[in-house]
Point group: C2
Chain length 128, copies 2
């Protein structure tokens, strides 16, 4: 994946911080929480906020809000739904096909909150 190109094509400069941000999101199999993202990147907090905002407004990344105040980020790819487990807080991407229809509305994203199969069976093993 050529992030440099992606960044530049959105009128932004391909700096180290920005490449790091996108790489981190790309390397993760699931959406990354705000906190985790902020932690793992060594850029200044001001830069972090500015870059996240820039990428989001350019549509390079997307954010999902969970039931509590958590916010998760991922690279913008094909539209798909998200499932957030209220017990273990994991976010899963749900690739679906027939789901994006609702009379007269344009659907951009869907978030489903609930409890995943794992957590329903074993009440142990809670992820923070």
């Amino acid at each position: 994946m050529n992030f440099e190109k992606v960044i530049k094509s959105n009128g932004l400069k391909a700096t180290r911080s920005r490449l790091h941000l996108l790489e981190l999101l790309h390397d993760s199999s699931h959406p990354v929480s705000y906190e985790e993202l902020k932690e793992q990147l060594q850029m200044d907090k001001a830069t972090f906020y500015r870059n996240v905002a820039a990428f989001e407004s350019e549509g390079v990344i997307k954010s999902i809000e969970s039931h509590d105040k958590r916010r998760y980020f991922e690279l913008a790819t094909t539209p798909h739904a998200h499932f957030i487990c209220l017990t273990c807080n994991r976010v899963e991407c749900i690739e679906s096909t027939g789901m994006f229809l609702l009379r007269g509305y344009e659907i951009e994203s869907i978030t489903i909150n609930g409890r995943c199969a794992q957590c329903l069976n074993q009440t142990t093993g809670v992820h923070s």
Copy 2:
């Protein structure tokens, strides 16, 4: 709707502030934003935060997060989905029946982000 009873049955005292909060949510046809709620209630901000937290943890009210950082509240009723228009920021409740099934998962709430029919037709009339 007997809010006094609702509040007391959750081990809380039926104070004016709390009754106001629930009445306001009840009188609104759609979920109310955090800001609007905070504005329209004349209780102290500390009290506001404490009461919202109390009601939410008791399951009396529910909150929905929109794509940006907005948070919306409603009285907890029967499970239903929400549609948030990314253009006009309106939140609609979607009563659905066959929607709450997903292999092995327990669904608690669903949020759909997109653009409503109105906004798709007329690009004017954006609500704040």
